[in-house]
Each structure stands twice: as C-alpha cells, then as structure tokens.
C-alpha cells in the first residue's frame, strides 16, 4: 500500500535555479526509503515540502490521502520528524518533560502516553539520562531522545533528516539499530536522508539518489551495492617503503614512501584477503578503510547513464 505519493515535485526559491526539479516517487507502508545526495542536492527541501512546511512551486504530494500544504495541521498527527541539525527538546529541562509536553500537544491520552514513554525508555535505553538536563547530554544521547520524541504520538510516517550527522561510528551504529528496531516494532514508514552511504546501506530497502534537485538513481539497495558500492578505499601507513602487493582488483591511487592509498574492488577479492596480503608483506603502522565518496558514486551513475 502506497503511503507517500510524489508527482512532478518542483521547488524554485530563486529564478533560474530549482532546488528540487520535477521529481516523482512513492513509498510503500513499512518501507525505509533512503534519500541521499551531496550538500544542496535538495534532500531537506523535499522533506520540508513533504511535511508541509514548504509549499511546492509545482507538483503534487499525497501522504496518507492528505495534501501536506493544505492539511498540514491534520497531517501533523500522522507524521514525525527529526532534523539532525535542529533540536525539538527543551535544552534546560530533562527529556521526560519534552516527551510529556509533546504527548499533551498531540492529545495523547495520559495512560497511552505513559506506556509509550516507558516503551521508549526501555527500547532506546534512556533510563540513565531521562531525568538529566538535555544540554548536559552527549550528541548521541540527544539524538536518541530526538527520535523517541518524534515517535511519542505514534506517527505512521517518519522523516529523518540526517539523524546521524556529527556522530561517531559507534553511536551511528546504535542509532541505526534503533531506527531498524522501531521500524519493525512500530511498523512506521521511514524516509531517511543522509550524506552517509553506510546509513543507507544498513537501513534502507530502496534508495533514491538526488543531485542538483534531480533524481539520478532510484533502485533497490541491493542493485546500488552491487553496481556502485563494490569498491572501497584503503589508506595505509608503513614503517618502511610500501611494498605494492600484486592482488587482483587492487589499484593504487596515490603512493608516497611510507604511505599509500588503494582502491579495491570487493567483487574480485575480499577485503580480508587484501588486508592479510598487505599486512604479511609490509610492516603496517596504520590502516583505514573508507567507502567511495558519494560524489564519486554520483559521477559513476552519470557516466553509466
């Protein structure tokens, strides 16, 4: 069942530049759709139009049978939002106060509100911080509370706009696990935007890549992974001169005396085998593995098109 239907959506803030340019897509009930793109691609503008904050220049949006621009107040009870760079929590009060306030604002019955708060305290492991002032929480703890706050009124659709921005890898994983957990527990449909390909890879069934306001890719995560995310970047620092290993699928991007940057095709050889070979032939001081930058993936998609 389609929960979100978007057709020919366009937003033009200034003349001759469209922030979102004629995009169309649907989201099924319970689906997690990834919406990725570089800075200024139009991700957040799209979310703001979907939630009714911005009025589209052209196009139609239908969420749960409602038009967000005309029925924003009505739709408010069915959608939740987390803007990673903005906070909805009262900074000087503990998160529990914001949860209670949101419950009252959304007309959640006291008994149900208490049950939901208890559920999120358990699910998100908020017990140690629920009574601490928000301004004293770490960013990771705050984002956990932001997500819980956005779910208090039991929304059917959740817009997560860069929820993992600024978080370290460990906390990112915690937040991703939470998003997956609540998607399963609450059957909530999620539209997730991120710069981080890993967020999308770990969470989404389907992915849309947007660039300069246009959709440049729309397919399953599996397809994206197989065709565009099969490469990794390995940066190595060694004690002595770096010995170039002769391994299939490895190409050298940069090499200096004691360091090198390699591009690895994981379809031809596993990361484990490559690392083993490098470590056995070099005295390795440091090694890091990164994904291909999103900009490069987009470049590849353009090239293939």
């Amino acid at each position: 069942m389609k929960i979100v239907e978007v057709k020919d959506l366009t937003k033009q803030f200034v003349k001759d530049k469209k922030a979102v340019d004629n995009i169309s897509f649907d989201i099924e009930k319970g689906e997690i759709l990834g919406f990725i793109g570089p800075n200024g691609a139009g991700k957040s503008t799209t979310i703001k139009m979907l939630s009714g904050i911005l009025t589209p220049t052209y196009g139609n949006i239908n969420i749960l049978g409602l038009n967000p621009t005309k029925d924003r107040k009505k739709l408010a009870k069915s959608i939740g939002t987390v803007f990673g760079q903005k906070s909805q929590l009262w900074m000087h009060l503990p998160p529990i106060d914001t949860f209670n306030l949101l419950g009252v604002i959304y007309d959640v019955k006291p008994k149900i509100l208490k049950e939901r708060i208890d559920k999120f305290i358990e699910l998100f492991e908020l017990a140690p911080i629920i009574n601490n002032q928000v301004r004293k929480l770490s960013l990771g703890e705050r984002i956990k509370c932001e997500i819980a706050a956005s779910l208090i009124h039991n929304p059917q659709v959740l817009f997560l706009d860069e929820p993992t921005i600024g978080l370290d890898v460990v906390i990112k994983k915690v937040i991703r696990d939470l998003i997956l957990k609540m998607n399963k527990e609450e059957q909530v449909t999620i539209l997730l935007t991120s710069h981080d390909i890993q967020d999308i890879e770990k969470l989404c069934d389907r992915v849309i890549i947007i660039n300069n306001g246009k959709i440049v890719f729309e397919n399953t995560m599996k397809y994206l992974k197989y065709n565009y995310l099969g490469k990794k970047l390995i940066s190595i620092k060694t004690e002595n001169n770096f010995n170039i290993p002769q391994i299939e699928g490895v190409s050298i991007l940069k090499q200096k005396d004691y360091s090198a940057k390699l591009e690895v095709d994981t379809k031809l050889n596993s990361i484990k085998d490559i690392i083993d070979t490098i470590v056995s032939t070099n005295n390795v001081l440091d090694i890091t593995i990164d994904d291909i930058p999103l900009e490069e993936v987009i470049g590849q998609i353009y090239k293939n098109n």
Partner: protein, 260 residues
C-alpha cells in the same frame, strides 16, 4: 486548553532552572529604586507631591513599571532566531498554532517573573520610602490592567518578531519600541509630569497602556479612568494580536527554512 496550560507550566519549570540568575538580576531593581528615590526627592524639593504624586506613590509606581519591564522575555529574538535557523520547522509541524505556542510558552515565565519582581520592588519601595505603604486594595484591583500590560507587551514583541519573515534583523525595531516605552510608556515617571497637551496625545498611543496606566491605577485608582483605560488596553491587545496573525499568515508563505 490543556496543551496551553501545560506549555505555560513547562516554561515556568524551564525558567526555574535559572532561579539564582533571576534573583541576582533583581539586584538591579533595588539599585534603580534607590537611585530614583534621590531623583524624585530632588524633583519634589520641599513639596509633598508633584502632579499629585507623593514620594511613596512614585516609588511604588516605579516598582510596578519596572516589574513589567524586567519580566519581559526576548520573544522577538526567539522568533527571529527560529525563522533564521529553521527551528521554526518543528513548531510548524505540531498541531498547535505558531503564535499560540509562543504566547503559552512565554506567559508562564513572564507571569512568575512579574509577580516576584513586583513583590521585591514593593519591599524595596517600603524601605526606601521610610516604611510607607500604599493602599494594596488598589494594587489588587489593578491586577487585570497589570497583566493586561504584560500581555500587550508580549503581543507587541511577538508582532516585532513576525517582521523576521520580511527583514533580516528585528532588533532595531525592538530598540525603537523600547525607547517609546521609556518615554510614552511612563517607565520612570508618570505621564502627568509632562504638559497636559502632551499627556492627551500620549493617551492615544498603545505604549501608554504597556506600563504607565497599570502603575498609575495601582497607586492612584480612579474607576472612571480605569474602565476607559482598560477598554483601550483590551482593544490594543486585540489589534496587536490580529496584526501578528495577519503578518504571520502572509509571512509563513515566504518562509524558506534553511539547512540540508
């Protein structure tokens, strides 16, 4: 209505985290009352009163005007920052109107601040005036116009904040408004200290009902003047409120929330 009262309660709770800061800043009120007691004494000279205001009346008058002035929250800055930073998005997505949200969340804090500041001001005025008291029944009868003044100031500041939809910086507008309060609002001296013609003109301004009127009724109650003044105050509250809604409804269409 429950959500509006709950918001007011949360804002009071939020504010009480700074109770120590709040009480420290009230020292300023004590200093102001002491300094103005000297000015008033010089002004009165050997007379018992000036424009039929005695020294204790002037000190209690100042305690009330300052309690209204010092209890303001800089809501125009909050609104302006929300519009500029995009945090406005969160409030727009709630099933509550943007203006009601801000009125409810500010009113709790302002009411408590005003009440506590007024009590501190009265205690200070009592000591500085040489243990003189005023008729507190007049103060109680004037509570509706005192809180009317608080509300009118709040709506006026929300109206100033609404200009953030159209201009980058609303602080200069606030600056002008504040200067009007100092003069036309009768913050430091009752408007009777001005020539009668000026007083007649000032009575048409909304600023007169943001400070002077409430303080004057508290120390020099007059039922006829009270009824007329309270009616004008209510009229201004509605005018400013509707102007805010009008500017908001036009401005919200222009909003382009930043970020992302």
């Amino acid at each position: 209505m429950k959500k509006f009262f709950y918001l007011a309660y949360i804002s009071i709770k939020n504010y009480t985290f700074y109770l120590k800061d709040f009480l420290i800043t009230r020292i300023f009120l004590v200093i102001v009352i002491i300094i103005f007691s000297f000015i008033y004494k010089t002004l009165l000279g050997s007379n018992q009163s000036y424009a039929s205001f005695t020294l204790p009346m002037l000190l209690y008058y100042l305690a009330i005007t300052e309690s209204i002035e010092m209890s303001k929250t800089l809501i125009h800055n909050t609104i302006s920052d929300e519009i500029k930073s995009g945090t406005v998005a969160y409030i727009l997505l709630r099933p509550i109107s943007y203006i009601s949200f801000h009125v409810s969340s500010a009113i709790g804090e302002i009411t408590i601040k005003q009440l506590v500041t007024m009590i501190i001001g009265f205690i200070c005025a009592f000591f500085v005036s040489g243990f003189k008291i005023i008729n507190f029944w007049m103060v109680i009868a004037s509570l509706p116009v005192i809180y009317g003044a608080v509300l009118l100031n709040l709506f006026f500041m929300i109206l100033i904040g609404m200009f953030a939809f159209y201009i980058e910086e609303v602080r200069p507008i606030y600056w002008i408004y504040q200067k009007f309060i100092f003069i036309v609002g009768g913050l430091f001296v009752p408007l009777e200290f001005f020539p009668p013609t000026v007083l007649k003109i000032f009575k048409f301004f909304p600023f007169t009902y943001m400070n002077y009127f409430a303080a004057k009724m508290s120390v020099k109650f007059d039922l006829h003047e009270y009824i007329i003044g309270f009616s004008i105050q209510l009229l201004y509250i509605f005018i400013v409120y509707f102007l805010s809604i009008l500017i908001y409804s036009k401005g919200i269409k222009r909003v382009s929330i930043q970020g992302g």
